[in-house]
Symmetry: C2
Subunit: 206 residues, 2 copies
């Protein structure tokens, strides 16, 4: 614990605002765990309040509505996921070879997109997929393709590799065509192998 | 001209209904030409009436609203396009080798999807992309991949090859990322080459 300041520092938020931010994080962590365990649809404001050990009124005060909470969980979850990719343990995070990172990325993005698509639905009018989120995913894919020595129009190839993992296309495959998730995933790995291995300059990846 | 029947045949629609169907086709053809020439956004009911040589009231009577007309043009255009693929001239239609057919199909679908995305927007609540339309495209792609000797999970590979041509992904590339259409098209050809050429069982396509 740091020494208490006699006067508040100019740049430090007042204690009350710091507490509010911490409480918000605690609530979001509790909500995110519930959402990951039970699926967004079955998570109620009551359950989140109980899991965080606060009154239901507090949850409503912070997020206004269940839709507002779901939108905040979506944002929180996307930020967490990006942190995992940027600085989490390998193979999703740095340290593994780029092909293993690409495979871990595909698997993880597939699951994250499915969860986020549900969160977007539950968030109603408050839920939109941010362009910043897509932009991060596209940049990371482009970077991994470059590391793998893929030549060609990397931004366009990255889009092609990401497209089957995007919510509307995933929804088409899983909900409408009824393909099991494992089959969609295996198909994506095959696609990655064809895109990465399809370069004249290098041998196909096994 | 066929000999007039003295009594209406049981299966033939009454003359009045036949006329109505013919007028509807004429109006749709006129509307489709206008939409293809000028873009859906700039096509008015007045312009369609003038192009078909009928009164504006007739256009409203047949399609109820501009949205209704746009939805009907969408349907008409999709049916026409499918007919081109099934029995039109090569290379889009039968007769060309499957690689040339695939390339013609990709180019043509790219253009059709952009036009149809605009029609869907203009049709408002009346405009939805039919599952039957997607289903046809997916089946045709699967068939061509099979003809090209591609092995693997063809329905999933077909989805991957189609995904960059689907409206939300195309919109991402063209409207949000600002990639020129020719670049998106060249990227799709490269993707097709990688998917088709990525098979261990055959040499890559040039």
């Amino acid at each position: 614990m740091s020494e208490p300041h006699l006067l508040p520092l100019l740049d430090a938020p007042p204690a009350e605002r710091r507490d509010a931010a911490r409480n918000r994080e605690l609530l979001l962590d509790a909500a995110k765990s519930l959402v990951e365990r039970c699926g967004p649809r079955s998570v109620t404001m009551d359950a989140v309040a109980a899991a965080a050990g606060v009154g239901k009124g507090t949850v409503f005060r912070r997020f206004e509505s269940r839709e507002g909470l779901m939108a905040a969980v979506l944002d929180h979850s996307e930020t967490d996921w990006q942190a995992q990719v940027m600085s989490g343990p390998p193979p999703l995070g740095p340290g593994a070879d780029p092909w293993d990172r690409l495979l871990a990325f595909g698997r993880s993005r597939l699951e994250t997109t499915l969860l986020h698509a549900e969160l977007i639905r539950e968030a109603g009018r408050a839920g939109t997929r941010s362009y910043a989120a897509y932009s991060f995913v596209a940049m990371h894919t482009r970077y991994l393709l470059g590391e793998l020595g893929v030549t060609g129009d990397l931004p366009i190839l990255a889009t092609a590799l990401l497209a089957p993992l995007e919510a509307p296309i995933l929804d088409q495959q899983v909900t409408i065509e009824g393909f099991p998730l494992e089959r969609v995933h295996a198909g994506w790995v095959d696609l990655a192998r064809r895109i990465v291995g399809g370069d004249a300059t290098r041998a196909p990846v096994d």
